[in-house]
């Protein structure tokens, strides 16, 4: 699938948002479809099979999470949820309901395009064999040999720290919810809410030059963590 001709369905009932999304997406060679209700979104997904869906969670006719669940019965295309600041619980239920990522309103076009590319590339990657080596800036992680390097020097990590990174590498570029990370790192459920935060904190002090301003392992406040998308 060529990203340049990908079809994006925008589901939002705000004219102002559609007015700026359409030209910015078209300028980047996407084909844009629009739906302003949950019902019409489902119809378009069935009829036109878009490659990616931007879904605002507050729709006039249906609960956005419900739309997401129904969408998932029809399509495995990536869904990026759009939601307002301060509605972290919406974002979490969006991710739990099968969304691939989210964007907080208001957002800039650069950010939107970056998320769309990450989501589309991931679909492509899943179709091929998974990349065993992750590289972003001065960080390199090799999943086959379970080794990590920072600025060409190998970094010693504890098994938990490595498990965290491996989980994030597999979803590189996307936000991974706290719940999912807890499940992957502590499958027996032997963790507390702070275990993950402490683990991320310690891992940052191994793989980030300036842990307070992480370049690789980012926090999505109240939702989870994101490892930046690998370099091209």
């Amino acid at each position: 699938m060529n990203e340049r001709s990908a079809t994006v369905l925008v589901v939002d009932d705000e004219r102002a948002i559609l007015r700026f999304l359409r030209p910015s997406l078209e300028a980047n060679a996407f084909i844009v479809l629009e739906a302003s209700t949950g019902r019409s979104a489902l119809e378009i997904v069935v009829a036109k099979k878009p490659d990616l869906i931007l879904l605002d969670l507050s729709l006039p006719d249906m609960d956005g999470i419900e739309v997401l669940k129904r969408l998932r019965e029809w399509t495995s295309a990536p869904v990026i949820v759009l939601s307002a600041r301060g509605q972290e619980s919406d974002k979490i239920s969006g991710l739990d309901g099968g969304a691939d990522d989210y964007l907080t309103k208001p957002f800039g076009v650069e950010e939107l395009l970056a998320r769309i590319r990450v989501a589309l590339r991931r679909v492509e990657r899943l179709a091929r064999d998974p990349e065993p080596v992750y590289e972003h800036g001065d960080l390199k992680i090799d999943l086959t040999v379970r080794r990590v390097w920072l600025a060409k020097k190998e970094v010693r990590l504890s098994p938990l720290q490595y498990t965290l990174l491996a989980a994030l590498v597999r979803s590189a570029g996307r936000v991974v919810g706290q719940k999912q990370l807890h499940k992957e790192i502590w499958p027996e459920g032997e963790s507390t809410p702070e275990s993950l935060r402490i683990l991320v904190h310690q891992t940052r002090h191994r793989i980030e030059k300036e842990p307070v301003r992480p370049r690789h392992l980012k926090t999505e406040p109240g939702v989870g963590y994101r490892l930046e998308a690998p370099d091209e």
């Binding site: 208001p106 800039g108 809410p193 991320v200 300036e210 307070v212 301003r213 406040p221």
Partner: protein, 341 residues
């Protein structure tokens, strides 16, 4: 004439207390001294309550005095007619005292109410001027830039990048203001905090990332030891605190570097955010935390630091401003380490 049952109860209590005092003084004082004791009781009631309880107290005073002390004692019967004059004078004096006391009190209360109304009025008008300025300036810039761009698009003029930057930056400024207004309202409405244990580094980190454009490449020195204890905070609100402190420093100390550091104290974590700007006047060190107060002509709605204090207090912590040795201002935050605080 009204009064609550509690105030009438006060009249009864005062009468009882005065009577007890009179029994104690009875052997060493004359009857006229005892009258004084009851008058003091009436005055006390009048100063606390309204007309009704004061009147009751005057009446009770006369009756108790008659019953317990005027011969023949322990009857309401009066032997000498001269005591009737005493009663009349005593009652009249008690009434006058209570009338005056009640009036003084109501006047004081009215004055206080007027003051509160004036204060609310002052606050409301400063809110209007500060917020409307903060809302109008970016809106004017956005509208102006957009309409110029529209003309340029029709006539094909250049300059569009500057105008677009203007639109984006001003819209972001509005976004921050709206966010502050919403969180202030939510806190004042008594919204509960979603407190969880976090490394402070994580919270400061997300605030720095959100402030990236605002900082525009300015140097931020951080000194955060790796093994600091976790703090129990609402991450969204604490991030807002740091974004506001950074925005404040950028406004008042435009070119200077910023220092953020944290230290473990007894049972708290102390974080300081310091700049190398002009610092604060001594009288502003407290006032900068007042809502809608602006310490200088620099732009701002006067909300940022007020919400910082509200958030810190809601966390059982505190924030204060100091001048920094060598110049500049420093904001010191104290956050308790324990969940319950």
């Amino acid at each position: 004439m009204s009064g609550s049952p509690r105030e009438y109860g006060l009249s009864l209590a005062a009468a009882a207390l005065c009577t007890a005092a009179c029994f104690a003084l009875f052997s060493v004082s004359s009857l006229t001294d005892l009258v004084m004791v009851y008058l003091v009781g009436t005055l006390a009631v009048a100063l606390r309550g309204r007309r009704g309880p004061a009147l009751l107290s005057s009446l009770l005073g006369v009756l108790c005095f008659d019953y317990f002390f005027v011969p023949p004692r322990f009857t309401l019967h009066v032997e000498h007619p001269q005591y009737l004059v005493t009663f009349a004078v005593m009652f009249a004096v008690a009434l006058t005292i209570s009338h005056l006391a009640v009036r003084v009190r109501t006047q004081a209360e009215a004055a206080k109410r007027a003051e509160v109304v004036a204060e609310t009025e002052r606050l409301r008008s400063s809110l209007l001027s500060a917020v409307s300025h903060e809302l109008r300036t970016p809106l004017a810039a956005i509208l102006g830039s957009a309409s110029t761009l529209l003309q340029a698009a029709k006539g094909g003029g250049p300059h569009s990048a500057d105008l677009l930057v203007n639109i984006r930056d001003e819209a972001e400024r509005l976004t921050r203001l709206v966010h502050n207004l919403i969180e202030t309202t939510r806190l004042e409405a008594g919204a509960s905090l979603k407190k969880e244990p976090y490394p402070i580094e994580d919270v400061i980190g997300t605030a720095l990332e959100r402030s990236e454009k605002l900082l525009a490449g300015r140097r931020v020195e951080t000194d955060l030891p790796e093994n600091l204890p976790l703090v129990y905070v609402d991450p969204v609100l604490m991030e807002l605190v740091f974004v506001n402190l950074i925005e404040n420093a950028v406004r008042h100390a435009p070119d200077a570097e910023l220092d953020i550091s944290a230290r473990e104290r007894m049972d708290a974590l102390e974080v300081s955010v310091a700049d190398r700007g002009p610092g604060l006047k001594p009288e502003d060190l407290e006032r900068v935390f007042e809502k809608f107060y602006r310490a200088s002509a620099a732009p701002g709605a006067g909300l940022g630091l007020a919400i910082c204090r509200a958030v810190l207090e809601a966390h059982g912590g505190s924030i204060r401003a100091e001048n920094r040795p060598g110049g500049g201002a420093v904001f010191r935050l104290t956050l308790p380490r324990k969940a319950g605080a």
